[in-house]
Structures are given as structure tokens and as C-alpha cells.
């Protein structure tokens, strides 16, 4: 069967020529090899340096308080909430790939879901930093949860900020469980292949006694489907709840009904940009072009283009509804964004998020990883600017001109933000080194030989 021409399967999910053995060898060798590429040390080192910068920024914050950031009345949300929304949005692509594409039977996802889920987890970890650090007294963060306290009070359940706590913590928990359950068969593979006693012990503990029996697989399949079912609504709900932080308030530019779908689309937009920004360097360093193929990049770029168009539509609608709604304050807000002190940010965001991604219409752009990488970075910058403009420009110039004030980010704002990028890189490259970045057993199901057997059985 293998030497038949590919007429029945015009699109293969991975490059031809792989066998069960070579798939396992190639993915497992990234972890089990003694030679770690220089790129890994460079990226991990950069992450570590920036992580130390983050720890410094947080240390200074703990000593001096949130005044070290540019937070001044009326802009009390500034960078912290911008970064929170940006990071949590990035996480969404991982859940979309792992849960929704699984339920939709999009099998090509099998070679990118593992690291996309890891990306989700680490992005949520970075996102979680900001609301907590922004509290001013981060050591009292546990007050956010309803626990039987001696104060006789509970969080205000009418506040979207409390919904956020539940949305994000549920998201983090389900994502972690989904990721870990999916890892178990591969952890067992690593346990069986490593020669290092310590590694065998560690992977053995984490694999939780996985032996790959039929019963194990049956339980595994059920658990994955259930977790995917749990995670699917989260793709939509988490960023919807995040958008409620804004829409429930009456601030001009925030108080609109289209913000939830607009935020969800933006989240997936930036998430797929991050998937591309990670996948493109990784596959060329580790020679994984056969597993993360050009088709994966092409599909991700198409998702980016589609969600980018939704986001563009939202920008147009925002302007239109301000005009059509006839609300003076909304109109003034749009005018301020376009021509006021944040005009540079606003127009850069239009350039990054609407204009630049139109290049993705062209197959020639989508087939060049370098172009895709650049456009992914442009979109990530654009999506950050979008949250910055929404938060800062709306707060800086609201109803009372007497209280208007311009937000100016301090070096600690930047240090904290760049520091979380360091935290992300640090965690991500640790993951690349210690765990299989591509799901071994799921990629094996993509092989032609796996399909033949399935057909023979049925």
C-alpha cells in the first residue's frame, strides 16, 4: 500500500516517509539527546535574564508599591491590565487547537497541539501575574476567593473582576489537566526509552503507571473527550468574561455589546500569531519540518487571517456605532483615539492588525515561513497595542475633561511586561527540553499505516 501514488489522500498531515519508529525517535530525541542545540541555550538564557529582570521589578514593586508604575488618576489600569488581557488572549489558541479542533476531527492539529497547550499554560501563568501584582497588596490575593474568613464578607459576585478570578482559574485548571492527561502516554514512552535512572524515575512517576493496555487507551479516550468538552466552552467564555471587565463599566469605548465576540476573535488572532512565532523557529532548529509541515503554517495563517478580519470588522463597527449611536461621549472617545494623544498607538494598531495581515491572502506569503514569522510578530504587537488603546485612551479622557491626564509608562512598567515575556520563554524552553514538544502517539495516528489498519478493522 505504501508505494501507491497519493491519489486517495491528496493532503497528508505530515511529510511522507515516516514510520512509527522514526516519529518516536525524532520527537523523543529532542528530550533524550545529550547534545542540546546552541539555539536552546540562547533562548533559555534570554528567558532567564528577562525572568531575573521580572523578579527585580516585582521586588521593587513589593517594596515601593504600584506607584513605581505609571498609574496615576484617572488611568489606574495602565500596563498591568493591558498585559493581562494580552497574555490571556494568547493562551486561547492552545485551547482552540487542542479542544475544538479535536472535537471537529481536524487531525492535522495532532502535531501542534502539545506545544500550543504548553503555550496556553505559560501564557495564563504570565497573565495571572498582572491582576495579582496590580492589587497593590498582592499578599492578600487570596481575598479574591470566597473562603470561610473571619471578616464575615465574601467577594462581590456582581463584579466582573470576581468573574475573572473564576474564569481564569477554571481555565488554568482545565488546561493543565488536559495537557497532563495528553502527556501521559508520551511520558511513558520517555520512561521506557531513557537510560538515565533519575529521568526514568521522574518520567515514571509522571506517567502514573501507563502501560498502554487497551483498557488504558479506552479510559484515556473517554477522559480526553470529556476534557475537550469542558475546555471548548472555555475558549469562548474566558475572554468573554475578560471583556466584561470593560463592558460592564460605563466608560466610553468600553460599554458596548460587541466587545465579547470581538475579544474572543482577537484572542484567537493573537494566539495563532504566537503559535506561528514559536513553531517556525522550533521546527527549523530541531528539523521538524516533516511533522510541523508547511500545511500547518498555512492553516494557522488562514485562521489568523479570518480572525483578523473579524477584528477589523469590530474596529469598523466601533467607529460606526459611536457615530450611529449619537452618544457625544462615545463620539468624542473615537475622535480622541484617532487624533488625540494616543493617535500614534491607534494608527499603528490599525496598521499591524488590519493592513499588514492582508498579505496573508497570498499563497506565496503563506508558504514563506520567514514572512509568516514576521507577520505573526506584527500581529502580536498589534494586539498588544489594541488592548493598550482600549484601556488607556478610554480612561485617560473620559467624561470629565478636568480629570483628563496622559498615561506615561515608566521603566518599571516595561520591566514588568518584558519580564513576563522572560518568564514565558523560560518556562517554554524548559518544556522543550524536558517534555516531548509534539505529541508522539497522536502523530503516529496520522501515519498512513495507522489508517490502513483502521480501515482493515472496520
Amino acid at each position: 500500500m505504501a508505494d501507491e501514488p497519493n491519489v486517495h489522500q491528496p493532503k497528508t498531515d505530515i511529510a511522507p516517509g515516516y514510520t512509527f519508529g522514526t516519529v518516536t525517535d525524532q520527537i523523543a530525541s529532542v528530550v533524550l539527546t545529550r547534545r542540546t542545540p546552541f539555539f536552546w541555550y540562547a533562548a533559555f538564557g534570554a528567558g532567564l535574564v528577562l525572568l531575573l529582570l521580572f523578579l527585580l521589578a516585582v521586588g521593587v514593586l513589593f517594596v515601593k508599591g504600584t506607584g513605581i508604575w505609571g498609574l496615576r488618576t484617572p488611568v489606574m489600569w495602565g500596563f498591568a491590565i493591558t498585559n493581562f488581557v494580552w497574555w490571556i488572549g494568547i493562551g486561547h489558541a492552545g485551547t482552540l487547537i487542542s479542544a475544538i479542533l479535536l472535537l471537529l476531527n481536524q487531525r492535522w492539529r495532532n502535531s501542534i497541539n502539545r506545544f500550543a497547550e504548553a503555550m496556553t499554560l505559560f501564557a495564563v501563568a504570565c497573565a495571572g501575574m498582572f491582576p495579582v501584582l496590580h492589587l497593590g497588596r498582592p499578599w492578600l490575593a487570596y481575598w479574591l476567593f470566597p473562603y470561610p474568613n473571619t471578616m464575615g464578607v465574601q467577594p462581590n459576585f456582581r463584579s466582573p473582576l470576581v468573574w475573572d478570578v473564576f474564569a481564569v482559574s477554571t481555565y488554568a485548571t482545565v488546561s493543565l489537566m488536559f495537557w497532563f492527561v495528553g502527556l501521559m502516554p508520551d511520558l511513558a514512552t520517555l520512561r521506557d526509552r531513557t537510560h538515565n535512572r533519575l529521568a526514568r524515575f521522574a518520567y515514571g512517576i509522571l506517567a502514573m503507571g501507563w502501560r498502554g493496555s487497551a483498557r488504558h487507551w479506552s479510559v484515556y479516550e473517554t477522559a480526553t473527550l470529556l476534557l475537550a468538552g469542558l475546555a471548548t466552552p472555555l475558549v469562548l467564555s474566558v475572554h468573554t468574561v475578560v471583556s466584561f471587565d470593560f463592558t460592564i463599566a460605563i466608560v466610553p469605548g468600553w460599554h458596548t455589546t460587541f466587545l465579547p465576540p470581538y475579544f474572543v476573535a482577537g484572542a484567537i488572532y493573537s494566539g495563532f500569531a504566537m503559535v506561528l512565532a514559536l513553531a517556525i523557529p522550533l521546527r527549523s532548529i530541531y528539523g521538524l519540518q516533516g511533522l510541523i509541515t508547511d500545511r500547518h503554517l498555512d492553516n494557522s495563517a488562514k485562521v489568523m487571517l479570518a480572525t483578523g478580519l473579524i477584528v477589523a470588522y469590530a474596529y469598523i463597527l466601533e467607529t460606526f456605532s459611536a457615530w450611529y449611536g449619537g452618544n457625544t461621549y462615545e463620539q468624542a472617545m473615537v475622535w480622541h483615539r484617532m487624533t488625540g494623544p494616543y493617535a500614534v498607538s491607534y494608527w499603528s494598531l490599525m496598521l499591524c492588525n488590519i493592513l499588514a495581515p492582508q498579505a496573508l491572502w497570498f499563497k506565496r506569503v503563506r508558504s514563506k515561513p520567514v514572512f509568516l514569522f514576521i507577520s505573526a510578530i506584527v500581529v502580536l504587537v498589534g494586539m498588544w497595542l489594541e488592548r493598550y488603546v482600549i484601556i488607556v485612551s478610554s480612561l485617560a479622557q473620559d467624561f470629565l475633561p478636568s480629570s483628563w491626564s496622559i498615561f506615561q509608562a515608566t521603566r518599571w512598567d516595561w520591566a514588568t511586561y518584558i519580564g513576563t515575556i522572560g518568564l514565558f520563554l523560560f518556562l517554554f524552553f524548559l518544556f522543550i527540553r524536558l517534555l516531548p514538544m509534539i505529541s508522539i502517539f497522536e502523530v503516529r495516528t496520522l501515519l498512513p499505516s495507522a489508517k490502513v489498519e483502521e480501515e482493515a478493522e472496520s
Binding site: P148, N149, T150, M151, G152, D192, G204, M208, G209
Partner: protein, 219 residues
């Protein structure tokens, strides 16, 4: 390949995974209990004082009114710790040679205050006013307990916020007529619920929404 783990690891893993639920539940329970324990709040712990002043003797035995010493309780946020002169009103006449009272006499001679140890100490971020409570019918006993039975004074209640809110949420369960404000061992003449409702109305006690507003106590 040899086994990495002994067979017993399976049992161990099951116990730790299922046990974690109980351990977490226990830790939560222990935390909440410790938080409310008298060890943490120091409630019911009699404090040593420079002079072993007995409320049991002065209030319970002699029958002094609270306001004889705590003079500003009806008009000020602070109930007032009496000056040594108040002690000397009587103790310049009786127990003149008692060695126990020597610090009091020394304080009077040298015109230096006695350093009483504070027993009921609210955190500084709480705005508390004695006079409003007294004037709205919250008896001394309601918060301070049976002072007439304390040989050395102790803090009767936890002073935790949930304890404050008990009354701020349902003042009708605790208020009494103003004429019994300093009475120790007060018994309502009838149903507390009914009397309480009437007094809440009569004394214009604000509704629970205002009484439990953050800025009522945290200003």
C-alpha cells in the same frame, strides 16, 4: 527491563491522590478553626496589669456604674481610662497602706500616669466610636461581656470583623433600652426580637445596608 517501581507504589499513588482531598479539607478546616481560636484572638485571656485592678470587685461587689470611671463613653469615641485621681477619690481614704496599691499612690505623688495594658484593641484601620453605640442602645455587656465577673480584665469577644457584622447585620437581636445600658446580666422584659425591632425604629438605627457599608467602619 526491570521494574522501576515496587508494586506498593500503586497503592501509595492511590492513597496520595485520594488522600489529598481529605488533607486539603483538613488543612482548610484547621486554618479556619485556628483563625477563630482564642489562641489567635487572645479572647478570654486575662491580662497582667501594673495594678491587679478587679472589675469583679468594683463593679460586681461595690456596684460602681461603668461611667464613674469611663466618663466619656457617652460623648466620645474613646470610653476613657480614668486618671489616677479617680482612683484616689476613694483610695485616699481606704486601703491606705495596702502594698498592692503602692503603684497607684506613687503615680499620684509623682504625677505620672499608670501604664495600663490595653485589653480591647481594635486595629488602627477600624474607625470605632463608643458614643454612637451607647446612644443607640448597645449595652457595655454586649461587647465587653460580664465585666462584673472579671477579677482581671479580659477581652470577651474575638473582635474579628465577622463578630462586628453579626450585630451590624441584625442590630435588633442585640439592642436594649438606653436606661439599661450599663446593666450587667440584662434580661429583656419580653421577646428580644420584638423589643429590638421597636428600639431600632425608636433610636433611628440605620438599616443593615448602611451599617455594613465599608466606609462606616473603614474611613
Amino acid at each position: 527491563m526491570s521494574q522501576i517501581f515496587h508494586r506498593s507504589t500503586n497503592t501509595f499513588a492511590r492513597i496520595t491522590i485520594f488522600g489529598a482531598v481529605f488533607v486539603l479539607a483538613f488543612v482548610t478546616w484547621a486554618f479556619t478553626e485556628l483563625d477563630r481560636s482564642t489562641y489567635n484572638t487572645r479572647a478570654t485571656e486575662a491580662r497582667e496589669q501594673p495594678v491587679p485592678f478587679s472589675h469583679a470587685h468594683h463593679v460586681g461587689g461595690i456596684g460602681l456604674d461603668c461611667r464613674y470611671c469611663h466618663t466619656t463613653v457617652e460623648t466620645s469615641s474613646f470610653a476613657n481610662i480614668p486618671p489616677t485621681k479617680t482612683c484616689m477619690n476613694c483610695h485616699s481614704q481606704i486601703w491606705l497602706t495596702s502594698p498592692t496599691l503602692e503603684p497607684v499612690r506613687a503615680s499620684f505623688r509623682e504625677n505620672k500616669s499608670l501604664d495600663w495594658i490595653r485589653v480591647n484593641d481594635l486595629p488602627d484601620f477600624v474607625y470605632f466610636n463608643h458614643s454612637i453605640h451607647i446612644n443607640k442602645g448597645v449595652g457595655c455587656e454586649t461587647c465587653h461581656g460580664r465585666v462584673d465577673k472579671m477579677p482581671l480584665t479580659w477581652q470577651e469577644n474575638s473582635l474579628q470583623m465577622e463578630w462586628c457584622l453579626n450585630c451590624h447585620r441584625h442590630p435588633e437581636k442585640f439592642v436594649r433600652p438606653r436606661e439599661f445600658i450599663t446593666t450587667m446580666g440584662y434580661q429583656p422584659a419580653g421577646g428580644q426580637e420584638e423589643i429590638g425591632q421597636r428600639l431600632v425604629h425608636e433610636y433611628n438605627i440605620q438599616d443593615a445596608r448602611l451599617l455594613t457599608s465599608c466606609s462606616t467602619c473603614h474611613r
